[in-house]
Symmetry: C2
Subunit: 264 residues, 2 copies
């Protein structure tokens, strides 16, 4: 592991959600002391502070002024509000959002950047940070280098990316992760309604993912849509007749698979 930048020894985390939780732990394991956690919800802010063995507050005005870096890991729609209410113009600050541009700091800070981890985080579930790709950006080469060294301290895969590229990465991640997980939800639902054990799907879920790491997903596509099994598709849509969302999703994805893959 490379040396951490000597000027980043302490951090404050604003936010107490899944990313804040994991990033705080990862940084502290690499001897970046989290000196304060600031959140909206008393419960989760206190929990994270206990986890990190540090101070906490739910009042943004009580923020300490002496951290080497401020990490804003709040829900996207709240980032602007947090930035506007911090009065630390000279401090180095980053956010961890995929879809918020670097320019959100313009006019409020002099030293700023982005530190976006491309991973899905759930509290109390451990993650090997060395494998998590980090996408970084900053308003100056000097700040970029600081953020690069910080990120390199916890991950082997640090890439610079501008805000437009990061936005595309985030959209791709929504498909590859959030929508994929929702497909698992829907599958579990179908089984539950029919008293079938969800764990019967485990080998299928795992193999589908492993295949996507080994080959182009378009070449791994199987199932009624890509095989154009009209009778099967018709039967499935009939069974889903009373489940409007399931039926709409089934029909749209089938149509899209056929449009995209069958004619390729």
């Amino acid at each position: 592991m490379p040396e951490l930048p000597k000027n980043i020894k302490t951090a404050i985390i604003i936010g107490a959600g899944n990313v804040a939780w994991h990033l705080g732990n990862a940084l502290q394991r690499r001897d970046i002391k989290i000196i304060q956690v600031i959140g909206r919800s008393l419960n989760s802010t206190q929990s994270l502070a206990v986890e990190l063995n540090t101070e906490f507050t739910v009042d943004l005005n009580q923020i300490r002024k002496d951290a080497d870096i401020y990490i804003v890991s709040v829900t996207d729609d709240a980032i602007t509000d947090v930035i506007q209410n911090l009065n630390l113009p000279d401090s180095l600050i980053v956010h961890t959002s995929g879809s918020t541009p670097l320019s959100v700091f313009d006019g409020y800070f002099k030293n700023y950047g982005v530190l976006y981890p491309l991973q899905t985080f759930t509290k109390n579930r451990s993650i090997d940070f060395s494998l998590v790709p980090f996408f970084i950006e900053a308003n100056s080469d000097k700040n970029l280098e600081k953020i690069y060294l910080l990120a390199k301290g916890i991950s082997d895969r640090v890439v610079t990316a501008d805000s437009a590229t990061r936005l595309k990465l985030h959209i791709a991640a929504v498909f590859a992760c959030n929508f994929t997980n929702y497909m698992y939800c829907l599958a579990e639902d179908i089984l539950k309604k029919n008293n079938i054990d969800y764990s019967l799907l485990h080998p299928l879920i795992l193999e589908t993912a492993l295949k996507a790491l080994d080959m182009k997903p378009a070449l791994a596509q199987t199932g009624p849509a890509v095989r154009k099994n009209r009778n099967v598709i018709k039967k499935h849509l009939e069974i889903l007749e009373n489940e409007p969302y399931l039926k709409k999703i089934y029909a749209l994805l089938t149509e899209s698979i056929q449009h995209k893959l069958v004619n390729e």
Copy 2:
């Protein structure tokens, strides 16, 4: 592993696709000799016959009459046609389809059943069959026992399921596997169009799947939809403006996630 039923020593496989390929190999590893492969396409039928070191034909009339079991692994829409054109009324026959009822054999055969493996198969990609759940059904207890012992010879997880249940399993599998893989396709597409390396998504894809094996997927849901990040969702839809399918899929899945998970 349990003993294989003494009366099933030879099998004929009708079909030369992914399931035929994998099942043929798995059975032969357990000393069920595949004595003939019958397919529609000369190329893939010959390839499978070479793989299994056995005879082949593309003419259904040339089928051998002396196999202990006939396994129909053709695309769903062709099963009826195959069954109607086989003249082996006394032989034991199974199909491997999730969505085709047992009754498809009615009037054509006296001894029949279903042997449905819940897995996604791609040629030349090895699968640990002991972990693949098999769902079986038959027209008599005696035939069910034979099929059970055959399936138990290659898998540790053999479950009896009627045709209605198997259909639900198949629909769940379409969501958990086929639609999931399509989400990977779409994500890869978005990255490709922006010259971003698809492998950056690998850790995310794997972690999303691993989480779904450890917890209820509804509890693992992350992302803008479940967080109700209206600004992010709006931004993503704007970026997808010129990709009608991507935009429709993004909008429908986001709406469905919010309808299902946010109010739960």
